[in-house]
Amino acid sequence: MSKNIDKISSRGKTWLKQTEESSKNRDIKFITASSEPVELLATPDMLTDFDYERDLGYPGEYPYTRGVHSNMYRGKLWTMRQFAGFGTPEDSNKRYHYLLKKGQNGLSIAFDLPTLMGLDADDSFSEGEVGLCGVSVSSLKDMEILLDKIPLDKVSTSMTINSPAAILFAFYIAVAEKQGVDPGKLRGTIQNDILKEYIAQKEYIFPPEPSMSIIVDTIEYCTEHLPQWNTISISGYHIREAGATAAQELAFTLADGFAYVEAAMARGLNIDDFAPRLSLFFNAHNDFFEEIAKYRAARRIWAKHLKEKYEAKDERSLLMRFHTQTAGCTLTAQQPENNISRVAYQALAAVLGGTQSLHTNSMDETLALPSEKAVKIALRTQQVLAYETGVPNTIDPLAGSYFVEDLTNKMEQQAEDYFRKIDDMGGVIPAIENGFFQSEIARAAYQYQREIEDKDRIIVGTNDFIEEDEKIEIPLLEIKKEVEEKQIERLKELKQTRDDKKVSNALKQLEEAAAQGKNLMPEFINCAKMYATLGEMINVLKQKYGEYVEPAEF
């Protein structure tokens, strides 16, 4: 075997030399979307150490490189999940009922920016942003309206919420209890990934340590009371959107994941009680093979670390299930129809990478909230992929490709290098406080931009194949002032009708629980039921924990 490899290797070198001498390349840089150089040809000598059983195994078997399920998409296609939410709770509620009638059985709730930042609709900082990019929820009252007549024991709900996730989750549980639904039957997901907020999305409130503690509270609470709830969707999507490379997305996301695992274990939780409820969320960028390698490497790294480092025993703990969204940052404002094909390739990479669910972006998303037609095309793109291309019929078809296996190995290697660096800094939180991730990402984003401006990287319609005099139509973003007024009015009414004494008692109890380092989930639920607002709860905790300010390191 090795003699054969030597022969291939030396012959390969001769071939490469001859090729370089005899042929002329196009005048561009041959690099990936992450600015990594790409081999002209992959050959078997790149995989001298390749061991099928050890490195790949069979789908549904350790180390799960080929997929987490044994029959993959033959058993069940990926979930086509499109995320939406807007305006007042009434508007969104109507939309959810429409979707449920159409046969959808999962809800996906997008909140507006004030809610994401833990601000009530009547806060002065919320002005102009209420109900704009999602639904506005300031109290249990809003959540009751949002979920009115929706059978919470039958649907699965995904809530994209992070900093104040525990409180919105408490609202949800309180609505369920009011509906008479046993919380044990609730199914769904909260994103609840605070680390990537500090790293990339920057919608943080408290400093990292207390934020982590609240997240462990949700994990602990779910382990006891909501065993079917997915507690964290550990997200690389936003890290990539902020400009990270594929390897950085992979490494930083998994490092975050391991930090959650360690924090929960430090609380005394048994890894197999919570790890099966963690899932991941990745980006699907332009570089086709690089992306596929990233997903494959992610599964292998997760399984290895959970098994070897954290000693998980339950097989379900080792499975890295993930959601994918195509890369919003690759969409161009110029010739927006081209985005349809970008999204299609990105979706194909995600499916070849074995994703469990997929959101495809709409072609007009760079400019405004997507139009209905654009959303439909995005969904149809997934359906064509699922039903017409034949791609889902066989599992992990690129396995064994010299190129893809080599890329997968390199991805894993780069991630492990980053893990070591992060460990040397004392872990994810000190690395955040030192600005490590932020400056790595900023540097990669800047390099990517320079490559575009130097035309080392071609973006069709933007720096080449430009249509002269193209008018970019920007649809008017309708700022619905009524939504804000309505929400403020509702809060005013709520504050007049609720029992203030009960509210202040509940908030006092929350403050005490925080001071004593207790699990805050029962207090959040109690406050919610007394109609304390999101902002009121957050303010109690701000007094105790302070507010986070970014490091100034570039």
Binding site: E241, L367, Y446
Partner: protein, 132 residues
């Protein structure tokens, strides 16, 4: 000593999307400017006060939230009120041509949309400074 161009880069609004602002900051540093990076969630009052204290030549705002029609005019008013309307107010974001026209009539400088090159932005600031 040679005069250094000083540019304030700030991001109003609640969202945390600072990729563009940071890329522009790095490009301007590399063009030899001194960039005062004020970061996220800056109110018009904070922006103008910072511009005064730092005596910047240029104020550059990154606005993605759609609130440009309220933020730019407010900043302009405060600049006039504080006697610093000799400084250039410019920026980038998702802004329709119609709004760009309106803002420029009010006195806002060039505004850069998605896909714009940082070189154009640097060039624009340099030319503005040369003419001043």
């Amino acid at each position: 000593m040679a005069r250094k161009l000083r540019v304030l880069i700030a991001k109003p609004g609640l969202d945390g999307h600072d990729r563009g602002a940071k890329v522009v900051a790095a490009a301007m540093r590399d063009a030899g400017f001194e960039v005062i990076y004020a970061g996220l969630r800056q109110t018009p009052e904070m922006i103008v006060e910072t511009a005064i204290q730092e005596d910047v030549d240029v104020i550059a705002l990154s606005i993605l939230s759609g609130a440009h029609m309220t933020i730019f005019p407010k900043v302009l008013d405060l600049m006039k009120e504080n006697g610093i309307n000799d400084k250039l107010l410019t920026g980038g974001g998702i802004i329709s041509e119609e709004d760009v026209e309106k803002l420029q009539k009010m006195g806002v400088g060039k505004l850069f949309g998605p896909g714009a090159s940082t070189r154009d932005a640097v060039q624009y600031v340099k030319e503005w400074a040369d003419e001043k």
